[in-house]
């Protein structure tokens, strides 16, 4: 099986000299839900933002190693970064609607990609809202401001907003932070549906959530990969003492 994403000897240092990632190696396969977990400052969010090149926004950083997406280096200067970001969608920890209606939020990515046909846009908006389990709640008020939605609805809208582009990979950076248990369950449930179609890399809210949703997981600590393996391997039979201590709640 070839990897959807392979990360090779990736290191990353912020402008202030803080080393966020050191010699990261991992492979992520198609249609799996891959979890990146670990304590804060482990480098999880940084790694996600390197994959879709949002880290480009930072000045004065240093990066080495490579990230291959479908065997193509995402940092190849000839690669169109807008294309990359359409293929690799992202949902952020804090739900961030853009000012405007729910419909405008959903249609934005498509419009920026140059799609003008209203029928195609309408159809894709509906489909992605269904995939994010939000359609029934918002179908009668698509023109309302996205800011009027509840926290859980906003987050599912953000998920739908990245799905509308029909990406290949979805990066989920703690998509259930600040959500109540019911909304969390709704999001987690939709993940099982989504991975039939997409490859998902997720930073979870907690170890418990990581163990609930993961097919495979990587435990990160201080910018290094401690251990990578299947859900069973990481959460039930970890080999590394640090992984064991973290998943059993002895630190973190």
């Amino acid at each position: 099986m070839t990897a959807k994403l392979s990360i090779r000897d990736l290191s990353f240092t912020y402008a202030d000299g803080a080393q966020a990632l050191q010699h990261i190696n991992m492979e992520i396969f198609a249609n799996e839900l891959f979890v990146l977990f670990g304590p804060s400052r482990a480098g999880k969010t940084t790694l996600l933002r390197l994959i879709n090149r949002l880290a480009d926004l930072l000045d004065g950083v240093q990066r080495s190693g490579e990230i291959l997406f479908n065997d193509q280096d995402v940092y190849n200067p000839n690669l169109d970064v807008t294309y990359l970001r359409r293929r690799i969608g992202m949902v952020f920890a804090v739900p961030t609607p853009l000012p405007g209606s729910i419909y405008a939020n959903l249609a934005y990515g498509l419009e920026m990609a140059g799609i003008k046909d209203r029928r195609i846009i309408d159809e894709r908006v509906e489909r992605s809202l269904r995939q994010a389990a939000l359609w029934d709640e918002v179908k009668d008020r698509l023109q309302d401001s996205a800011f009027a939605l509840s926290g859980g609805q906003k987050q599912r809208m953000c998920l739908a907003r990245s799905l509308v582009l029909e990406p290949d990979v979805i990066l989920l950076d703690n998509p259930t932070s600040g959500l109540d248990p019911i909304s969390t369950a709704l999001v987690e449930e939709s993940l099982f549906e989504l991975k039939q179609q997409y490859t998902i890399i997720m930073v979870p809210h907690s170890v418990q959530q990581a163990s609930r949703v993961a097919d495979r997981a990587a435990f990160l600590l201080n910018g290094e990969v401690v251990e990578i393996g299947s859900q069973q391997r990481i959460f039930i039979h970890p080999r590394d003492k640090r992984t064991e201590d973290y998943v059993t709640g002895r630190f973190g």
Partner: protein, 281 residues
């Protein structure tokens, strides 16, 4: 003195300074309105001066100021907004950027008469535009640049960074992001800056002194290469250069100029307030 008494005294002193700051503007406005209101009517606004400017109205000067303000807008807005977008969105934090910022700050501090002399040297003589609306508008535009750039940059930077990040993450290009997620939300601030800058330009005398303003013209300007009369300079002329000038015309002219300049500020404030109330974030 007890702490209580110190507190009372301090409050009084601070209140007095506030009143002292407000008093001059209130007095100026009241004084000019009281003295000038009797003169300002449709005749005054729509008629040219007559009889050696001691009679008639101010129409050519009023029209000249409107034209010059429009010209200033055309000259300054694209350049200033472009520079603000560059500084806020594209410029890295390096020596070149710092030099540009320093230049803008210094540009804002240059006395307006120096702009006037620069305009004379650069536009009137070197570029050979002559004493003309073109030269005057460019000079005023140059003077307006720093204030518009600074306010526009601030307005652009005030747009939450998340909007940019989200937009980029959805595959929008950098320019699409600026065009659709940054500029629309920065627009009220940018417009406010433009209006305040134009308000200042409309009331300035020194920059137009050598570049465009005419003492008296029997005819209205026909092209941008013609001279024009302008309100601030006209006021200066009728207050100091024309013997036997009736005070009523002087105050009437001052009132019209004051209303124009203050209405710019008022419009800017209204736009800002309305747009802020409509904002969702």
């Amino acid at each position: 003195m007890s702490r209580q008494q110190t507190q009372v005294l301090a409050t009084w002193l601070i209140s007095i300074t506030a009143v002292v700051v407000i008093l001059p503007i209130v007095l100026v406005v009241f004084y000019v309105v009281a003295k000038g209101i009797g003169t300002v009517n449709w005749q005054f606004l729509s008629q040219p001066p007559s009889n050696g400017m001691t009679e008639g109205g101010i129409f050519p000067a009023l029209l000249g100021t409107v034209i010059l303000t429009l010209g200033t807008a055309v000259a300054a807005i694209p350049l200033a907004v472009g520079a603000a977008i560059y500084l806020a969105e594209y410029a890295g934090d390096n020596r070149a950027t710092r030099a540009i910022r320093l230049a803008i700050v210094n540009l804002a501090g240059i006395p307006s008469i120096v702009y006037g002399l620069f305009g004379l040297g650069m536009f009137v003589l070197f570029l050979n535009f002559g004493t003309s609306i073109l030269a005057g508008a460019l000079t005023l535009g140059l003077m307006t640049l720093p204030v518009v750039i600074s306010t526009a940059e601030e307005a652009i930077l005030a747009v939450p960074q998340e909007f940019r990040v989200v937009s980029l993450s959805l595959g929008a290009s950098r320019w699409q992001t600026i065009r659709h997620q940054v500029l629309p939300h920065a627009l009220p601030g940018i417009i406010t800056g433009i209006i305040l800058g134009l308000g200042r330009a409309a009331g300035e005398t020194a920059p137009i002194l050598f570049t465009v303003a005419a003492f008296y013209l029997p005819e209205l300007p026909k092209s941008i290469f013609d001279q024009t009369m302008a309100l601030p300079y006209h006021l200066y002329v009728i207050s100091t250069q024309v013997p036997g000038m009736p005070l009523s015309i002087q105050y009437g002219t001052a009132l019209v100029l004051l209303i124009i300049v203050l209405s710019f500020t008022l419009v800017a404030t209204v736009i800002r307030t309305v747009m802020r109330r409509r904002r969702q974030w």
